[in-house]
Symmetry: C2
Subunit: 389 residues, 2 copies
Amino acid sequence: VALVPQGGNTGLVAGAVPHDGAVVVDLRALDHLEAVDVAAAQVTVGAGTTLEALQEHVAPHGLSFGVDLGARDSATVGGMVATNAGGLHVVRYGSMRSQVLGLEAVLGTGEVVAANLGGLVKDNTGYDLAGLICGSEGTLGIVTRVRLRLVPTPEERLVLLLGLPSVADAVDVLARVRARPTLHSVELMRAPDLALVEAHLDRPFPLQPLPPCVLLVELAGADPSPDLERLVTELGLPDERTAVAEGDPAAAGMWRWREAHPEAAAALGLVHKADVTLPAGGLAPFVGSVEAAVEASAPGATTLVYGHLADGNLHVNVVGPDADDDRPLDAVLELVLGHGGSVSAEHGIGRAKRAWLLRQRGEAAVAAMRDLKSALDPDGVLNPGVLLP
Amino acid sequence: VALVPQGGNTGLVAGAVPHDGAVVVDLRALDHLEAVDVAAAQVTVGAGTTLEALQEHVAPHGLSFGVDLGARDSATVGGMVATNAGGLHVVRYGSMRSQVLGLEAVLGTGEVVAANLGGLVKDNTGYDLAGLICGSEGTLGIVTRVRLRLVPTPEERLVLLLGLPSVADAVDVLARVRARPTLHSVELMRAPDLALVEAHLDRPFPLQPLPPCVLLVELAGADPSPDLERLVTELGLPDERTAVAEGDPAAAGMWRWREAHPEAAAALGLVHKADVTLPAGGLAPFVGSVEAAVEASAPGATTLVYGHLADGNLHVNVVGPDADDDRPLDAVLELVLGHGGSVSAEHGIGRAKRAWLLRQRGEAAVAAMRDLKSALDPDGVLNPGVLLP
């Protein structure tokens, strides 16, 4: 009997959708939180713990979890490990794989493997089973418990909105801020999408008239002000092209504009979602041509483009085509491959992107992945039909 | 025919030593350096590139490689990837696996797999083959080319020597400095070992009389001075218990004391080497009892203990026992397991520590590793006899 592990059901590539009589393994009851190891800045939690519960558990100790994302109230740690989730602060802390010190998982053989649940910072004894299971989307093992690294909660955070003439300018700004030690996030937004968000939230964006391109830059640390001043001085932008938020409520208000993008898309109708990476040089050309690529097979479609610019990671949302019309997203992914990018930046492959794995990784790598799957799940009971074509 | 990949031959666990007619695959000729991608802060190099050649290649661009270690003039990037090398700055940048964005490797099947040689920051398309091969000690694939992340070269670095009454005090200091954003290294040294180094280098240590325990703390960044002042003020140590080095030549002079430890040991005779991790709470008890544990089977042996305290990683050098007398190191590793530590922090398992893998990782995990080995190297031609018991 096939087993389909499920956490908070926030995945976007149908990796936790049961098919053909498979049994759903609901992991949300594994939500125990062990005591925070403050000296080591680590914690062990059950796979069913939501990101928000984890955040609330560690916050009183002056610690934070390095990965944050919009679906924090329902996404579970197990699912985030299984999909190697990324989110808003990858530029500072890396994605889930960088936070996982150890884990416990049940393989397809029924064997329970544990790796470094004691949270040793260095443990070079054999293959990195934890890292391999992280990002395997429930196809190699079912994650039950995780040892996570924590980070000091930044004393102060500043959020800056920068209005810029183009995506190419945004990429230039990114190159300037990348090395700043307080850099916490760099998110891209565009005028046509912000106009949709304005309509959805029913209030005007802080920068008016809407600039063609907006960067949301978060700086965080003991004192991020010098980095902020240096950046603003270097850029020499007029006042009406910048807005600064100090303190958590104001910062959250700025972030709302970014986080409301998927909601604004959903308000228009069924959303086809792509989550892609471009190399730095491909970002501006991609954004410049993606709407035309969609339009070719879906005249009149609405295309939103936004995301984690610091990681080269863009989310493309297309509204208009029928649910079973794959042509517009296929055109988007073709464009991504043409620019040397990746068809999945952080959402994974799931069922939805399976046909693209060979194109992305090549025959030899996919054959090796199949061999690894057979090794840890010889009967193919774990999430069959997910990830591997 | 068995194949044994070799790089700079700086391994310490006999992972690159040929046996039984195996063919050595010398990778040092694969030493090509591609142009540094300055905007992305990345570079692609051949597996045979030495660490020093890599460092010299990227330095003119204001960039550094995040891993540094004493054998930099001969250790090769391929070997460092294969062993997931750690070194002096893991507390700041992580070990090799954290630096590897992508790689090319030849599997046991003869297939060449490439993963993310374009250096995309995020690529969530299938299993992390690069991360799995990293640390597999040449048993899953032979690394031929690597895409590496680089870090901005810190504008300034300060090295501080702190004389402390005990290892327990050193662990307390570590807890204070851990969250400082400029923290670059925290190394532990002890008076009896420093006395050997003084004899070896024929000059007196900067702090006199020799304190029982010395921490070498490196702070680095745009301006590490505030972190230094805060630390010195908080600790309230008398002047004769601290020494500060500003600038590269002075800093290198301080580091010489730490890096000369293995040389001082070698000057005494054949060195038995253990490389272990302890959890924070186990560090002081371990150091307090390790000499007695060695003494039980090797009366009169000299035991040096030093290492990367920030990672809980200690190097134990024992001089005195015969080359084939495993009892003293076995006693050290037993003590490590008793304190919840790891028998290999950064050197790997190789041939020398193979018998300990089961004890460290358990039957289920080692069985899974064997299955992974069979999957990528079905004929068992890659480094047989290494890592897996």
